[in-house]
Amino acid sequence: MKENILIIGGGAAGIEAATQLQKMGLTPIIVEKSEKLGGHIAQWDRLFPAFHPAKDVVGQMLDNVKGVDVRLNTEVADIKRDTDGFKATLSDNATIDAKAVVLATGFDLFKAERKQEYGYGIYNNVITSLELEKFFRTGKDERIGNPKKIGFVHCVGARDVKVGNTYCSKVCCTTALKQACEMKEVFPNAEVYTFYMDLRMFGPGYEDLYLRTQKDFDVKCIRGRVCEVSEDMDGRLVIKAEDTLFGKPLKMTLDLLVLMCSMEKAKSIDKIQQQLGIANNNDGFMQIKDTYLGMNGTAKDGVFVAGTCTAPKSLPDTIAEARSVAVEVFNYINNK
């Protein structure tokens, strides 16, 4: 069995799917548009809920995927279905004949400047969750300085009909609490607040993280959505929210505001998705075959999906889906 399986995307989903498919005796080929494997997770410093360094987890995944044909700095320029499966033409003009295609194309981070009322790109001390991870990784960000009071805004670009994203982005609540704890580690004397609508601590160990956030790190969680950010005469940020549990409007002056940006389906795959005939849901993510039993299938024979291209997901969710897509592809090839 030497069938080629084309995997588009070299993030967590693509790497893990390729690793498993190779073990099953198939020939996965990863096409990755950037210069390295690892996707978004490789940009992260530590991962919730256990605070493990992302580079250790990614490093292990990269060890496991050794031996797989990986095409970096390459995109699929064109794809056609033929009698044997699929013929893909890559951006470097190489062609790949594949029996099946796995879309593991992941997400784009919500562009924070679209929520103009939060002042990202307007006020210096408003940063994104991704930029904060970079700060944790490198220790460098001239906007951060020595903040005495830090705020986190949940659901930026999620659960918000005004930006067209009505879904919950799933991982931002836990990320916010993780980053809030880490800020207390870096700046022990700072006051740290998070502003949430609902705290969705859905996974194993996540509720424990919430407890630690309160007990060990003294982070204050306020139930209310930030609706306006402005700057005062001294260049500090003034935020407005309702403290809904207390039932009073709240105004607070902060030195740093971190926006927990949501996930949106990566747009760079739109053309290929169209050529393959894979539609999106109303939420903009790719449509799967069945909500309960067909999370890796699509409406098209031989086209499979895994990871955050179908919905926001945590890393463990993504890994589980990547492994299950390998089984689906294996069964598809064997029953052909």
Partner: protein
């Protein structure tokens, strides 16, 4: 809750089904021009109607200046300004 009079809320719901979609995030209250000086809070006002406190709700509405900022910030896209007008009608 057994003897709550929901007449006003149910009437409102017929023309404004989105009164059921509030997630109590408090954006409307936080941005409210009147809310900083009075008890005005649309989020609480909706709850009052659902708990049969119609008189209290109508008293609260008097503080509203119909500026519409609440409608701009609502993440559920509730047409708050229209609902406030409909309650007093």
């Amino acid at each position: 809750m057994d003897s709550v009079d929901l007449t006003t809320f149910n009437r409102l719901k017929e023309t404004n089904p989105d009164v059921n979609t509030c997630i109590a995030c408090g954006s409307c209250t936080a941005t409210c021009t009147a809310g900083n000086f009075t008890e005005m809070s649309f989020r609480r006002l909706l709850l009052m109607l659902q708990r049969g406190k119609e008189a209290e709700a109508k008293k609260m509405i008097q503080h509203c200046m119909l500026c519409g900022k609440c409608t701009l910030v609502c993440p559920r896209g509730i047409n708050i300004r229209k609902i406030l007008l409909d309650i007093t009608r």
